[in-house]
Symmetry: C2
Subunit: 477 residues, 2 copies
Amino acid sequence: MDIHKSHLLVLGLLLCLMTTQTSAKYEYQIKYLDVPLDHFTYVNESVTFKLRYLVNDTYNTDGKGPILFYTGNEGDIENFAQNTGFMWEIAPELKATLLFAEHRYYGKTLPFGNNSFESPKNLGYLTSEQALADFAFLLAEINPSNRSTRGRPVIAFGGSYGGMLAAWFRMKYPHLVTGAIASSAPILQFDTDCGVFSQILTTVFRVAYKRECVWNIERSWDVLKNYSSTADGLKVLKDSFKFCGNITKAEDITDTFFDYLSDVYGNLAMINYPYNSTFLAPVPAYPVREFCGRLDQNFTGLELIGRLQEALSIYSNYTGQTKCLNIANAYDDNMGTAGWDFQSCTEMVMPMCSEGSGKDMFLKKSWDEKKFSDDCFKKFGVRPKTNVAMTNYGGLYLDAASNIVFSNGLQDPWSGGGVLQSSNNAIKIVLIPEGAHHIDLRAASDEDPGSVRGARQVHLLSIQKWIKQYRKKLNKY
Amino acid sequence: MDIHKSHLLVLGLLLCLMTTQTSAKYEYQIKYLDVPLDHFTYVNESVTFKLRYLVNDTYNTDGKGPILFYTGNEGDIENFAQNTGFMWEIAPELKATLLFAEHRYYGKTLPFGNNSFESPKNLGYLTSEQALADFAFLLAEINPSNRSTRGRPVIAFGGSYGGMLAAWFRMKYPHLVTGAIASSAPILQFDTDCGVFSQILTTVFRVAYKRECVWNIERSWDVLKNYSSTADGLKVLKDSFKFCGNITKAEDITDTFFDYLSDVYGNLAMINYPYNSTFLAPVPAYPVREFCGRLDQNFTGLELIGRLQEALSIYSNYTGQTKCLNIANAYDDNMGTAGWDFQSCTEMVMPMCSEGSGKDMFLKKSWDEKKFSDDCFKKFGVRPKTNVAMTNYGGLYLDAASNIVFSNGLQDPWSGGGVLQSSNNAIKIVLIPEGAHHIDLRAASDEDPGSVRGARQVHLLSIQKWIKQYRKKLNKY
């Protein structure tokens, strides 16, 4: 975990998948398709693996409806199916088939089974391009087109990295995908000011309740550091925060715990939904406000520590069932983690930094490309290729793209890497001032603010337009 | 050579590269760039090879001109540079840099040197997707873009398979390529009636001079077959055609020589230019007319054989220097051949057949996918993936493509797989009724018919429009 933990919040994207198991609300068939391990070479052309995908075909009553295709991202596809209520809610009206495809190397789609994470020998086939090619391969199988018959229209959906994939899928395979809803998709994060995530995050905390919240966080780093410098101080911290493991040295606080705190702040902002949720952890509605409510005056010293502990419990122990605070393992160290770590170490390199000094609520931490690269090499035997994503997908140069909605909640720290404007009329930009991370793809709730409801309306209208466009052209080739 | 030889004319594309060495008319610097062997996995991420490219920067006087980029196809890039006069002719007016990039595994761009053709271990990295990624990598290096500065506009050019690559390059990497001139690019050949090539070819011969020409060719198959069935007959043929090697069995005629003849007929049509050329072999102007001029009455038996031999010499011995007819080696068995054979056996699968019985001038020969696959497996240890090109590039479903000119000479048998119509206004279709294979990319000649001159005008106007579009948007991101 060192690689991204040493770089503030770079893991944020990944966290989206660490959903606590929700009860299955939506139903589907689970299927598998044999897919080539390597779509782009013929060195081992006969090697395939089983790609898992989920299908619900109950609404497609006339057999001609569109296919709503979730482009799976870094986690178990069943979690995405359960957490993307918007697709389920529009499927009946569209008479659509629902299709959720798992991303290779996540969930149960492990090309080499338990050995999948031997890198780079086995893990080296984990790339976004191969994942998109898997999706294309699946569609060619399920919904074939040839010169005499064209398949049913397909709409891609995805949130976070899944949203990046949905947009790229439309960009790279427009003949297979009629349009894409890319929610909270930071496709510009490869080439954006590295501090923007921290700045937006700080703003979310600044406006959530009282301004003292951010001031307390800013002060907390030094207070914690001071306590960490002596054995007695460490014991105080251990008792206050009820850490699960042993705390024996300053770095346990200034590295491990600081990273944990940064990640939790990022997560709280991402899941700052207007209702209770269990997406990353069980939390109350507006968890940032709840968090800041416990840091509502200027605290110092031991009192600040106590208040911070209480505030943290909003995230770490909202159920009251947690016995101790596991800062070494804030995320299940499951296979998803290893997968995303590897992707960040190869093509999905998103530089992150913080400036401190009032510009954000963190300590100053530059983006250290060399250290990042060395850590990657130590862990995986690979070095990041920082330009690959830009060369392959184009960053902000989207002139030729069409039929993509980029939606971003402005309360989401990832919006700093999102597409927030475009001079290309074939792309639609949806800003959700009151929205957190891809809230528009979640199931409708009575608590949804107007901007979220509005975003879903725009999505549906775009989808209907694309399908109509597609059907109109069917006989014009 | 069995694989494609057993399938009428499937090698036609390849032939474009078998240029006899022309004297160097155009000058350039030869450069090399280290490029990743595999752009889409990280199994051996540090392995690179030297990609050769050619640059002429003399016209780019203000440093801001466009880059005219030839997407190299299946052969030595120097030959393409010398045979694409159109690019050289428009460069001064556009103040453009000329750039010709060699396709991996052709010319001097051999990733594993002399071992490059050990398949599939080494040869498996030869795919169109990897080649396009090489071109993207090269452009990212030479002409970098980032969020603050955008590179110079790039126009892709290519003929035949190079034209397919030019079109696909624009489709897959539109942020790097502003527009593409795709000349004689049969991107639909994967999913077209397998007999269309033979039919167009027959038409070219039918109209070239007198209708007796095709009748003689039609009759010749049986005559040759009859002679091949006896030792005496074989000797007659050997003496008549002056074969270089020994002719010992019927199959030397009915397999090897028949394939040779079919290929020569295809080549004659492709290079049916209105002036002498040395592109595939030294031939006179309008070589099909010359060929048919020697078959201008109904001949039979031995007389037909003699006339056919004379006609063939238009292609095989126009210089009068050839001592014997090398039918086993109509194409240099150089590395280019092995490369294209492999590509046809993996993703570039273009089914070819002929029907005979007056529909075309060939014997009936179905497309036998199983035999083709078995031959590929025997030769390379791989089996064709017949759907890959369609899934990856979309065939005729080009709704989302833009800024591509598809030009086709209607005298070119490859035009049957070309894009001859489109309901997409962002694509331009140029038909050249009097044109052979990518004649519009060749240097202007006094002999060029009006339709060829017109095509070049349209190309230039499109290019100018794209560059203007690009520059207008430069400050709008």
